[in-house]
Symmetry: C3
Subunit: 164 residues, 3 copies
């Protein structure tokens, strides 16, 4: 089963997603984050401290589809929004990468949970890059939501089932 | 039936709203957007490319109520947020315009779908105009939601029924 | 019963929360806002104009837990987001204050409604203070949501039950 967990910053979406995999006995934690400053380092540390020996961590900023194809345990990919950042930095073809991800999801045998940020519910950002980012993030969420068997929106740590 | 479709940027709200009217056999597409730059032109083109011959397009940045009163086919107004931008630019009386819109909605014989952005779920914007905009957008959404028979929140292309 | 009412700017969350207490015959209105400029003054006035003689208003920017412990009528605290602003300005220990609030909520005999903003659904803010604020606001919402018996998300004036 493919699950997309959507939510805002500090919505509890990662903890909620981790719980799904832990209830399955644990699995692979695929971290897409690149640690580029102290703030990010602290954030990563908070996430790591929460995870226990139910988890095997893989750091992969870009090729999520490869990890999906080459592992067989339940997998949590956290998160698609940072994955998009990494792709944009590389000037990758986002549509193609998203398609590749969805193809891997459809062929996956293991349970997969993907975490993603909803970033489009504020005022239009002043700068063009931020606007482009939120457009692409929204498109990725739509495409992955279509592929997913289940979509859950999390706010204040509480789930709202949007698709199942 | 009057339907309000709410959502963030790139949430799939327009496509969702279009589907409602297409399921009724098509109708009038009321575009409130003013094309003021290349980014906007591209956005309009994406929307247009998706629509087919089920649609008759009318461009009207301000007088939505007039179009509602003078057409009889199912109508999609996309979107109230750009309509508000246009009204603010003209220094129009927003309360009065909203009232006029709601009066037209109540008297309408045809099915109507209105699309609007939810813009109030981010951090308080730095500049006063953006704060005023999101206040007014929120008020319009509340008022139109009260008049509507059905309100649907869309995220990642998926609907969440808020009123029906 | 402890109720958390979450929503964006101008979502109708305060009016919705007030209605809950008014349906109980009215009670204490705990205003956490500090009036620091004309915009804020206007905002407070709009809120006050809506409230009637069912209400007894107390202004307390910080010690919500004290007011909870020392009153016995139904109470509306509006809002936790401004409360957080006040705490940050004082450089208070936010975790400790949140814990103190939750302890008071658990011991409360009266019905309590708390209003809070969801601020994490936009683009990552440019400035570090805004990022810290939205992180803390998200954490407070999660913690209070866990303590609450009922959590309601409000958009366009309409409720979405997230916990009950």
């Amino acid at each position: 089963m493919i699950t997309l967990v959507l939510g805002g910053a500090r919505s509890g979406k990662s903890a909620y997603a981790e719980k799904i995999i832990e209830d399955l006995g644990g699995g692979t934690y695929l971290a897409t984050s690149r640690v580029w400053d102290a703030e990010m380092a602290e954030r990563v540390q908070i996430h790591q401290a929460r995870r226990n020996d139910l988890w095997h961590t893989i750091e992969e900023p870009v090729a999520i589809h490869d990890i999906i194809a080459n592992t067989d345990k339940p997998l949590l990919a956290d998160c698609l929004t940072l994955w998009l950042s990494n792709l944009m930095e590389m000037e990758a073809d986002i549509d193609q990468e998203t398609e590749q991800l969805c193809r891997a999801l459809k062929m996956a045998k293991q349970d997969i949970v993907l975490v993603s940020n909803e970033v489009g519910l504020g005022i239009v950002p002043d700068n063009a890059l931020a606007r482009k980012f939120r457009d692409l993030a929204g498109k990725i969420n739509q495409t992955v939501a279509q592929t997913a068997d289940r979509v859950i929106f999390v706010a204040a740590g509480l789930p709202l089932i949007m698709k199942e």
